[in-house]
Amino acid sequence: MIIDSHTHVDRFGWYDPPETIIRLMGEAGIDQSIIMTYVDAPDVKGSIEYIAEAFQKYPDRLIGYARMNPRRGEEAQQLFRKAMEEYGFKGLKLHPAGNRCHPARQETIDLIRLATRYRAPVLFHCGDEEFTLPLQIAEAAKACPEATIILGHCGGYFHTSDAVRVAERYPNIILETSAMPYPRLVREAVERIGAARVLYASDGPGCDPTIEVHKVKLAGLTADDQEAVFHRNIRRILDNVTLEAHSI
């Protein structure tokens, strides 16, 4: 069983219809994938609906995260509520390099707190660009200790040490394996923060899910840890997500 925690379906930026990731999932032996656009809502009209249509078309294979621009304030919050309650999205995606909204800005914090009311995870693009650095995202994790913050790409090429360090510091940070090129980092993350806080992801279809699966296999984890990384951890997180907002 493999669940891919970070993939893309889009017709607005790069063109990747749902059938592309479905085909690659078949090649890689992946059961389910979490999909999101390359663009932010509500900046790009129809992007939330496009993802909803995709996971409604493939309800057993695809799960949706809503990629939002926190700078859009109340408008973004309203659309996120709709995505969660009407369409059945399961998480929030933030790409601060795209929308230039610092992870610790109040607008971002407000959106993270809203996601947390649904017990929904918050997946950050976490690489080497300004506003996406692990130490910057860690400020949001510190401000929202009740939130589940996922560091997508685990710090990219040059900030992987920081990613592991902030995950050691804040227990609400989860590390995600996609696209970064170091199998040894998967093992290091498991050894230092525990297998329960590491997720397999590919960043497909651009990054080939088959290759990304091999990366985790090359990390030399125990069979039990590998299962946790491949599906148990994200399943546990997703099972906790609710259709209605709770108070926090």
Partner: protein, 250 residues
Amino acid sequence: MIVDARVYLGTSLFNHGLSLTEITANMERLGIDKAILVPVKPCNYHLGPMNQLVSEAVKRHPERFMGLCRVDPWQAEAAVNEAQRGFEELGACGLYLDPWEENFQANNQILVPVLQEAQRHNKPVVINAGHVRVSHPTQIRDIASQFPKVQFVACNGGQINISGILQFEARRMLEACPNIVIDTAGTYREDFIEEIATEVGEGRVVFASGSPVYDQEFEMTRVRFAHLNPAQKQKLWGLNALKIFVSRSQ
């Protein structure tokens, strides 16, 4: 035939290292026929003895290894002399420049004398590319267009950016400069490799692992699982590298 077009030999200042024994064992385990050895920057910063080390490895196992000569262009005339020694005495099949570790911009004019030396010997030049402040694709393109007769190999797909935002620039670099090819090590994303091989030219990509900075076994999966036909893959695995490094060496 599988040729790994970039494997670092020696103990690096930057806390990684492979001995010749380890490199050989890895190649045997993974089915790699030939590797192009690159000297690391050692703890004492002296590149000359590392070039010697690479040369000795190649002389001991010419069927298995080729080697690049690494110079620091900030050393000016000494760098030119070392490049000359590399080509004429050490048997180097090309020049290696590392703007990231030697801290120079890839289009800085301090490169001109060493590139002239490479051109004089008809040797390819491998540049550690994709580091935004020193070896951005626009900088590689700029220097390569000043030396159209020199074959350049831009490492890391010519771009290191996990948002993919540099892919467009790297492709423009390749389209503008037919004298540049990219290597596959660490490349974001695999579909960029496929795109370049199919749309820009199947001769424009060479397999390299960049190990031990990157994981050699994992890096092989980028070619193994690429959505390319067998003939294209053969070129990526080794034919392109042999054309660049062997044909020019003879």
